[in-house]
Amino acid sequence: MLNLKKKLNISHLFCVILFIWNTLYVIEAFRIAPPIQKGQVSATFFPLIISFLMYITIALVFFTSYNQKNVTATSFGQMNKPALVVLVTIFYITLFKIIGYMASSILYIFAIISIFEIKKKNILIKLFYAVIIAVIIYILYEKIFLIRLPKLGGNM
């Protein structure tokens, strides 16, 4: 928990991030083309209108966030598992084409089941579920819909 119970809260931090994103977006827009070229709207005219509206609404949220009671305090302890899920998913996506669908999916399902479990379970049982789920999805795509999923050593 953050003890700095001053005026600024996590909601403000979020606004700042949005502000930075929006500013990057505007810079990128002007790097591509001015909003109006030769008297005609260009590819950046419409996006810049959206950015403009975005600035206004960010400011609105920023200045109304001071006395918010129900800001969900996102403590970092709560973020452990979601972060782990993200990390595992990154590995899964990276390995997907390299070691193929089957091996990567079994590992992934196994990892997610482990992250979600409250009581420790037998590794073999978890592995069993992982294999079953991976095979079912494989049958669905490969056998029923004839989609080629990446295979180990395949030249996809």
Binding site: Q37, K38, L146, R148, N155
Partner: protein, 328 residues
């Protein structure tokens, strides 16, 4: 010393893989052929490639399967073809955009036609202009006269600004001296049909095949085609050539190509497979029914044809940019 060892190992592997490719070619194909359509499933190009590969599949022991990989106009999917193994098991469908727009605008870094080996051209569609049947202009002459009287008043729908059909319209402008109000409909032929029927656009740049059902039903009329001979399915639609305009023969096409470096005999085998499919009654009947113009150019001619189209179009685009008609 070590590096020399590594080099020799690499050489051995390369030699072995060459050998394995060579042994491939005799009984190609031994596994399924992946065909990449760089557009969404359900579109016109998608249909052409799916139908011809389905027919071609019957003459080989393995399957030919289609994957739709969209993005970057047609660039993203075809980039996959360019970077596949040079074994002929990955082919892609190239259209006007893939030959002209994507390389010209450098939309996909690393995209280069040098990385593909073209197998054949299967369909060709001339550019055309259509109007509603109840439009006040009965033929091109009346249409042109009206456009001359009211420059920039008559609206013509094209695909996107700087895309194929817009460029064709600009070429018509250049040759005929007419000027139109340009309306972009980048969402495909459905959007254009809607615009024409709702009266939002007075005319549409398209191919006659795309509007075939509406033409046959008497809702839409083909005004003129950008061809040098009459379309066998729409013999009453004149073309610019016969009306005495020069340089107004333009259109799109579907070309099948595989990765560059594919052994010649594999390419020849692929050409044979698609030649047979293309000349089958099944394909011809299908083309006839759906308004697609089946045309054949083999491996010997197709690359020259595509490169010629690219050169001509690049030249034209450069001229339009120099004249300030469009931006680079």
């Amino acid at each position: 010393m070590k590096s020399r060892n590594i080099i020799s190992i690499i050489l051995v592997i390369m030699f072995l893989s060459l050998f394995s490719i060579a042994s491939f070619a005799q009984d190609f194909p031994t596994k399924d052929i992946r065909t990449i359509v760089p557009w969404a499933s359900g579109g016109g190009t998608d249909a052409i490639i799916r139908v011809i590969s389905k027919i071609a599949e019957k003459s080989i022991p393995t399957a030919i399967y289609v994957e739709n990989i969209e993005g970057g106009l047609s660039g993203v999917g075809l980039y996959e073809v360019m970077n596949a193994k040079s074994d002929g098991y990955t082919i892609g469908g190239f259209t006007y955009d893939s030959i002209v727009t994507v390389p010209r605008q450098e939309l996909v870094p690393g995209y280069s036609l040098d990385k593909v080996k073209m197998i054949c051209l299967v369909t060709k569609e001339a550019g055309a202009m259509v109007v509603r049947e109840d439009a006040p202009w009965k033929n091109w002459e009346e249409f042109a006269a009206a456009a001359k009287e009211n420059p920039r008043k008559i609206s013509v729908g094209v695909d996107g600004i700087g895309n194929a059909q817009h460029l064709r319209l600009l070429k018509i402008n250049e040759v005929t001296g007419l000027e139109f109000k340009v309306l972009p409909y980048p969402g495909g032929s459905g959007e254009k049909k809607e615009a024409l029927l709702s009266g939002e656009a007075d005319a549409i740049m398209t191919s006659l095949g795309d509007f075939a059902p509406l033409i046959h039903a008497g809702e839409v009329r083909g005004l003129i085609e950008m061809a040098d001979q009459r379309n066998p399915q729409f013999t009453d639609v004149p073309n610019f050539q016969e009306l005495g305009y020069e340089g107004l023969v333009k259109g799109s096409f579907v070309i099948l190509a595989t990765t560059a470096g594919t052994p010649d005999d594999v390419v020849a085998k692929l050409e044979q497979i698609f030649y047979d499919a293309h000349h089958s009654d099944e394909f011809r009947d299908w083309a006839q029914e759906t308004g697609v113009v089946a045309t054949w150019l083999g491996t010997d001619e197709v690359t020259d044809y595509a490169m010629q189209v690219q050169e001509d179009e690049f030249e034209m685009i450069q001229k339009l940019i120099d004249d300030g008609v469009i931006e680079g």
